[in-house]
């Protein structure tokens, strides 16, 4: 597989008020890679994803998508690209939230087709047929006209993944996609993500599901208190000598 770089984060720093959350986070993701981000609660995993997806502005560091700078570290701070450039860069990634954030007033099919139609300018027929393909792939064909409130959490999350995929992002971020779900529903969402991994979808996944991370990831990043403490293949991380990493992995695995 070609080693095309899709995402590079260099020395990302972020604070809220007096509290620094991210001290120095660097990350490179190549096309087709699956990278998991693990770490204790409050270590800054969500903040990292929120900065990477432009929901939050970082203070310092660079953010580069496919060679295009969304933000560049200049002096001691990040200088962001123009609105116009950022709008284009936004098209290259998607984000799946912990609590789905589907649009409750839209049916399942509208949730999936509205952004392609009204943001990306795709024709309605094309958007609908693409959405049906995704629903079919995720076992939700019969839910096309349902509303989010009529779906289980697992179904809602699969719709949310379909909604993100409908825009054909190059890279998809997940922020604890299963932690709002009970174990029974977790499985169905994980299997959807596993399937995307099999199809070489580039993904960055924040998760507490250690076995899952071990199984799907090419690399795992262990973050603590705003630093990358360790990075490596699942084998390397699960055999780590670092006591922090061992403790964390040990405490999570039942």
């Amino acid at each position: 597989m070609e080693d095309r770089n899709l995402l590079t984060i260099e020395h990302m720093k972020k604070h809220f008020g007096d509290t620094s959350v991210l001290f120095d986070i660097s990350l490179k993701v190549n096309k087709g890679e699956v990278v998991s981000v693990i770490g204790p609660s409050g270590s800054g995993k969500s903040t990292l994803l929120r900065c990477a997806t432009l929901l939050e502005e970082m203070d310092d560091g660079s953010l580069i998508y496919s060679g295009r700078y969304a933000a560049k570290s200049e002096g001691d701070k990040s200088v962001y690209a123009s609105k116009e450039d950022l709008r284009k860069i936004k098209r290259s990634f998607g984000l799946v939230f912990q609590n789905f954030n589907l649009f409750p007033h839209y049916s399942v099919i509208q949730n999936i087709t509205d952004a392609p139609i009204s943001v990306a300018g795709v024709g309605r027929e094309e958007a609908v047929s693409k959405a049906r393909q995704l629903l079919d792939m995720f076992g939700l064909s019969d839910k096309e006209n349902a509303y989010p409130c009529e779906l289980s959490g697992g179904q809602q999350q699969r719709v949310a993944i379909a909604r993100a995929l409908a825009l054909e992002p190059e890279i998809l971020f997940f922020d604890e996609p299963t932690s709002a779900l009970d174990p029974l529903l977790t499985g169905e969402v994980l299997s959807v993500i596993r399937r995307l991994a099999d199809e070489h979808m580039t993904m960055v996944i924040v998760t507490h599901e250690m076995e899952f991370a071990r199984e799907v990831s090419d690399r795992i990043l262990f973050i603590e208190k705003g630093y990358v403490v360790e990075e490596g293949t699942p084998e390397e991380l699960f055999a780590s000598d670092n006591p922090r990493v061992r403790d964390f992995i040990g405490s999570i695995r039942k």
Binding site: L54, L55, F93, V119
Partner: protein
């Protein structure tokens, strides 16, 4: 008898006109006012706060009189007879806009931030996010308080009598005084009751229509 009836009927029409025109202007105006109220511009926000405080803190009857006489006392413009009705619409619209603005604001601020974030990541522009994602959900949330205000508005239309606009109550009072009987006033009371019944019925239909999702 039939002229009495015709008079009452014309009063009804005027009341309904005041009601409809006030809604027509105050609902969109209220949205603009709520934007001002939520603005990050401190000066604009402050001005809008004062405006809302005055509108809600003083009697609508007083506001009607002020709006009616203002052109004369402030600018020395003689008051044309047609201005009576216009003054009523202006006074009602700016008063109700203040109430609606606070209802819109409460609705908009109650929206979960996740809806904005989901829209932002999907690439919706600010105005698309507001008009496609946020506002439709806000309407559902604010329908009950808007219904309350609307019902109050039906009854408030009778305040137009203070500047002698020939709406339902003004006319009923005149007839009643002339005939030395309360019949006309009873008819007026029945009119307001039925009017509100219809309003409540229509609003309930709206709520039902939006109950397809939670």
């Amino acid at each position: 008898m039939s002229t009495t009836f015709m008079q009452l009927l014309s009063g009804m029409v005027v009341s309904v006109e005041i009601f409809l025109l006030t809604l027509l202007f105050s609902l969109p105006l209220g949205l603009l006012v709520s934007f001002g109220r939520m603005s990050r511009n401190r000066i604009l926000q402050g001005l809008v706060k004062v405006y809302i405080a005055i509108m809600r803190g003083t009697p609508l009857m007083l506001q009607l009189i002020v709006v009616y006489f203002a052109p004369f006392y402030i600018f020395g413009i003689p008051i044309a007879p047609e201005y009576r009705f216009i003054a009523v619409i202006i006074a009602f619209s700016i008063n109700y806009a203040a109430y609606f603005a606070e209802i819109y604001r409460a609705g908009i601020e109650s929206m979960p931030v996740g809806q904005y974030e989901a829209a932002a990541v999907l690439g919706y522009s600010k105005s698309q996010t507001f008009f496609k994602i946020i506002f439709p959900q806000v309407i559902k949330r604010i329908l009950p308080p808007v219904t309350n205000e609307t019902i109050t508005l039906v009854k408030d239309t009778s305040l137009a009598f203070v500047i002698a606009v020939a709406e339902m109550f003004t006319i009923a009072k005149q007839i009643s005084a002339k005939q030395a009987s309360v019949t006309a006033l009873m008819v007026a009371g029945l009119f307001y009751f039925v009017f509100n019944y219809v309003v409540a019925f229509i609003m309930e239909k709206f709520e039902k229509k939006l109950s397809y999702y939670r």
